[in-house]
Symmetry: C2
Subunit: 230 residues, 2 copies
DNA sequence: TAACTGTAGATTGTCAACAATAAACGGATG
DNA sequence: CATCCGTTTATTGTTGACAATCTACAGTTA
């Protein structure tokens, strides 16, 4: 059951997408302030390219929603409001619940593979907790959920979730050291994993809903510290 | 608590987005064959613009997924397989179920407004059924669902669904006169509307799931006629 | 002093020409 | 006759320059 095409699509990756990926990573890592204007000429030379390809990449990110474009003004980094946070996590909940049901309906070996990957991620999370590396922790947090959704094999669901993951990282970015109690974070992910492994549909659904609910609470409770406006 | 910016973002609509919207409409109306290459120069002159802005628009549509880009080859119209149809409708089901719950949790006047809009659409559908205008019927079909999701007010959910709606119209396009029995189509939408109006959570959920299930059956049962490859 | 207006600067939007790559065709060769 | 290879052609990828627009600042005036 190999996928030989996977190598082709990777080797012939369009330029605009490559630039978009680099830029997305820069943005979610906080290289730009929310609301800050993106200077095309400066960024183009910084990424060793021209304005043309860069603009194409910017359009992609505008379509994703992490950049907003204003005519004759340029593109700006998305400013997240409390309403945005609620929206993002509402959609994430919908996607993850769908993924959960699809996953449980799929074969046991599919579930087993996903469970194995998730366990590895949680192990890494525990490691980063000790090191108190928030940046890495945020990345692993989203990697856990992205892997979870990837388990379904639904490419559209995966693509949608990748965008949501980027936005979520932008949310978390504002928190920095204010990340909620980290031991609880690991516990919640472990709980999701346990329910998945046990095939507990009801429990898994509840765990995901609780996880999202808590995240919204943490992200909207302290607007000042998170740099999030009402 | 007015939002004066809303008018600004509408008046200053970026060019690439305008072109992308035109192109999307052309594609879902069947102006291009699935798998067909999109010639940049020809399209640019046809749309009274240059290759630059057009390429930016193409990137947006690639991000949406209705076009696929291959390096040094160009962009091609998405070819839908049976697997794609299953994916699309699985995601649609997830989004609509989420929308249903959100809608029922919102205020009664929010529901009433949405119900009113949906009723108008169904009335138009019945009209087009008599006229046997398949193109218009397909548009109204998706308009019904888009309006349903729009009722939630979740801009991200809406954006996601608009992409799914475009892909769905591409699916339906292949059917043409083979559109499933039209009276049943109207009935199913009416059923969804009734459950929403009655606030019947369980019934609404069932109706949506049945609706999607039937659609996938119709779209994958006759691959030849639909121009869909296995 | 405050408000208004005109100018200057910078930035984006658009375009046309150039370079690079891949597909298509025709001919040579086993 | 099929296969392989070089040439041709069309298309995309990239670049730089030009035009249009907006913001900011300075000067003027009530």
């Amino acid at each position: 059951m190999a996928a030989p095409e996977a190598t082709f699509v990777l080797e012939g990756r369009p330029t605009a997408q490559l630039i978009a990926d680099q830029l997305r990573e820069l943005i979610v890592q906080g290289a730009f302030r929310p609301g800050q204007q993106v200077n095309e000429s400066a960024l183009a030379s910084q990424l060793n390219t021209s304005r043309g390809p860069l603009r194409e990449a910017l359009q992609r990110l505008c379509q994703e929603g992490i950049l907003v474009s204003k005519r004759n003004r340029g593109v700006f980094v998305l400013e997240l409001t409390a309403a945005d946070v609620k929206e993002i996590y509402a959609v994430r909940e919908a996607v993850e619940l769908a993924a959960a049901h699809t996953l449980l309906d799929s074969g046991p070996e599919q579930i087993a593979t996903t469970v194995r990957e998730l366990k590895a991620i949680i192990k890494n999370m525990a490691k980063q907790v000790k090191a108190s590396d928030w940046q890495a922790l945020a990345r692993l947090d989203m990697q856990f959920h992205t892997t979870f959704v990837s388990g379904t094999g639904n490419t559209r669901l995966i693509r949608i979730y990748e965008t949501l993951a980027a936005e979520s990282r932008m949310c978390i970015l504002g928190l920095e050291v204010a990340y909620p109690r980290i031991d609880v974070l690991v516990q919640e992910h472990q709980k999701i994993l346990d329910h998945l492994e046990a095939g507990d549909r009801q429990g898994l659904q509840r765990a995901i809903q609780r996880h999202m609910e808590k995240a919204v609470e943490d992200l909207t409770s302290d607007p000042e510290a998170a740099g999030i406006s009402a």
